[in-house]
């Protein structure tokens, strides 16, 4: 962590909770640190978006959402987020499928509608100023509803925030990425902003 306040700037109750997390996980995950510090400024408001977008999507499975998140993180070249979310996608969808998408999604053994979404996510992440209705049309042609498309737009936006924070603040890489992934798959993201 590049800011000392993200190491020791917490209230007493938060410190206790962070101590427990560190004992369990071996480290304090960067998102927990950032979403907990002065949570009225950011964490309290970003956290519901995170939980809603990544765990309450109606049109995509958790594995698909995690795959989209890992993919967006890779476009942003965010090593921290790519690793953990890729692992969650592997655990949910299978190692071969998740790895194939992350390596070269155009050749991956996934449905065409997934590839269409990944093409869109790549454009919205890397060339957002070029996005127009022409980028939406292929997804609609694949039968995706407005609500399903809206959900993938939210995933892209959520990761474009946290990827930048991970790299700017220099989040520590997880000690055991499978442990982190299992925890997040079981508990979701609501636990990442600690009250106190």
């Amino acid at each position: 962590m590049r800011l000392q306040l993200l190491k020791n700037g917490y209230r007493l109750l938060q410190k206790v909770q962070l101590f427990i997390i560190k004992s369990m996980m071996g480290y304090v995950p960067g998102p927990v640190a950032v979403l907990t510090y002065r949570r009225n400024f950011f964490g309290k408001h970003y956290n519901p978006w995170l939980e809603q977008g990544l765990r309450k999507a109606k049109h995509w499975s958790v594995g698909e959402i995690e795959l989209f998140g890992a993919f967006v993180s890779k476009q942003n070249e965010c090593q921290f987020c790519t690793r953990d979310h890729h692992t969650m996608a592997q655990m949910s969808l299978g190692i071969d499928k998740a790895d194939a998408v992350m390596q070269d999604f155009e050749q991956a053994p996934v449905e065409e509608k997934i590839k269409t979404v990944l093409r869109f996510l790549q454009r919205l992440t890397v060339s957002p100023h070029e996005i127009s209705e022409a980028d939406i049309r292929p997804m609609k042609s694949q039968g995706l509803s407005d609500e399903a498309i809206e959900e993938v737009i939210h995933v892209c936006a959520i990761f474009c925030v946290i990827n930048r924070l991970a790299d700017a603040f220099d989040f520590e890489l997880s000690v055991d990425t499978h442990k982190t992934a299992r925890f997040l798959l079981k508990n979701g993201y609501a636990v990442t902003s600690l009250k106190g």
Partner: protein, 103 residues
């Protein structure tokens, strides 16, 4: 939810409110048009451009330079969050606008 997030990061804080708005607008403008508008001081401008376009290239020295410029850790925390939030929310708005136009 999204509006509350935007209002929070642009609301009460340690970093100058006008400067946080400038940071948000700078990142949003870059996403919407591909161009950037400079803000002052130059050190902050360079940092926010990196945050917006190539955050993975940020190094310790970038943060140290902001501290040398007189920014406190709380101000750096806030300005970074404002820039990152702008990068997300503006993409959200751009994507939803395209979806709305495709009816």
């Amino acid at each position: 939810m999204i509006q509350a997030l935007k209002e929070a990061v642009l609301g009460k804080g340690y970093a100058d409110s006008a400067l946080r708005k400038d940071v948000y607008q700078k990142v949003a403008h870059q996403i919407l048009s591909g161009d950037t508008t400079p803000i002052t001081p130059t050190t902050l401008n360079t940092y926010i451009e990196k945050l917006s376009k190539q955050a993975y290239k940020i190094v310790d020295r970038d943060i140290d330079q902001l501290k040398d410029e007189g920014f406190s850790e709380d101000e750096i925390f806030e300005l970074t969050i404002v820039g990152a939030t702008a990068a997300g929310i503006t993409r959200l708005e751009k994507g939803l606008q395209a979806l709305q136009n495709c009816q």
